[in-house]
Amino acid sequence: MNLTTEQQSILDGSKGEYLAKCMRWLVQWGDVMGAEGLIKCDNTHALLPVPNLMARNASDDTMRSYMADLKQACEHRTAEGCYCTLHAAFVTFEDVDVPENDPEQVAMQKELADLAANAGFIPTFTCAPYLVGNVPVRGEVCAWTESSAVVYANTILGARTTRHGTESAIAASLLGLVPEYGVLLDENRKGSLRVEVTANLTHPTDWGALGYFAGKEAGLGIPVFNGCRRPSQDEAKQLCAALATSGGVTMAHIVGVTPEARTLEDAFQDEVPEETILFDNETLRAQYESLRQITGDEIDACILGCPHASIRELAEIAHLLKGKKVADGVRLWVDTARGTKGNADAMGYTKIIEDAGGTILTETCPTNMRIPAKRIITHGFKQAHYSRGMIECESIIAKTDACVRSAVAGKWLGD
């Protein structure tokens, strides 16, 4: 890669050992990915989490070494003018009665949150930064972690970010630079797979089904959705999360919605393929069936807000739960960002959900926390997919109203 004199001097240690290491990560990564240089980055979404139960039984040495790295990052300032938010954590700061919320790890995460705030990171602790103020404009160069948010930024907002990991997002936040490759360049934003949508998509979870299907088909490519209507923000959120779950998708085009894809020709940069795959009502149903492999009807957890719930989803959930009670033995979780919960408190949604026996969980989600369950119901394809391995449960994917009805009944009642 070609480096400027200043970039080279940082690499050589002019700003200290840690920033030299950050520069080395970006330069080496850029070389591997075929970047010609580093470009200015104005917006990051980084990961600074304690691992909590992911490191259950990990040695003290592992934990010390892991924490030392993150603390070292926070001894520096985020780059001037760079908007830096933080990704979801693996503990909650809420006072919840679950042993998985290890008080020692919570204390460590709070310490990290304070250090991060001093460094200039906004402690949003969410997987959906675009719901709490981090909304880049079209063309803005970003460095985001959280694959679902990356797909959202590229596809819905027309911003530009490759998929980042912990170290690259920290490096980008502190240096204000990213290697220029992949979807940061026009030519790499060209569609690779044409998906004709004839299915009747009526709810955010249906859009999740579309993403789950297309992610499998597209792999690391760029699917183009043609023939569907404009999704709502919540529908777009489910689509993007599912695309990044079943595949390694970084962006998609929705013809007529994605800012740079007014037409099919735009999406494919004038080389529209003949070959198409079809997403019809039968394919839609098959996606639901693929995440309903269950051996019984009883459920013990209902997980809503994957990715983190918007205020409108909290309104819907409160409306569905008003005057009802979640069945004994079922834990109903609604995961959201602290900022969104503040609004839910003011709107009275929090009280309705809590009165019904539900819990609003901020900073994290129960699967990130590894709260065990035998059989969960959820409206998020991402949650339904990963929870099976992460908390070794059976999962049922269903629309929000069916999830809530089942949580009240204590068992899967069907659509």
């Binding site: 080496q28 591997v32 990961l47 959280e146 990991g165 912990t166 390694g248 391995g389």
Partner: protein, 140 residues
């Protein structure tokens, strides 16, 4: 079939390592599908479900999906459970980052189909600096 078979490729992240191959013509997400502390693949229904990554040469199509990859790889490495080398048909940028940060050699852009040659249990030497993997078959 000769005892040793070489497949040439391109070193993505430099270094040399050898170990027992863990092979599947499949994708894998380190986030959600790997337990860093046990080093095991926990993805339900995955062809490598239950297998340990510890000291293995991981021969798969690509990693997929998750920005959590380098973090899980970091924890696995600190715990001594990381693969010793990656041989991936396609390069997922997050696996490349994870290998850079954790100093794990990675080989890609192979000249022939590795799944036709290498099987789980074979001994594999990866030299990502020279861009080659040498496979010693466990059985003729």
């Amino acid at each position: 079939m000769p005892d040793n078979i070489d497949i040439r490729g391109k070193g993505v992240v430099g270094g040399k390592a050898s170990g027992e191959a863990l092979v599947a013509d499949a994708t894998l997400s380190f986030w959600g599908e790997v337990d860093a502390v046990t080093g095991k693949i926990i993805a339900v229904g995955h062809p490598l479900e239950g297998e340990s990554l510890k000291d293995r040469v991981l021969v798969i199509r690509s990693t997929k999906g998750s920005s959590g990859t380098p973090m899980i790889l970091n924890l696995a490495k600190l715990e001594g459970n990381a693969p010793v080398a990656f041989v991936n048909v396609e390069v997922d940028s997050l696996a490349a980052l994870g290998c850079i940060v954790n100093e794990i050699p990675m080989l890609s852009k192979l000249e022939s189909d590795p799944f036709a040659v290498v099987s789980t249990g074979d001994q594999v030497e990866v030299d990502a600096d020279a861009g080659v993997m040498r496979i010693s078959k466990i059985s003729p």
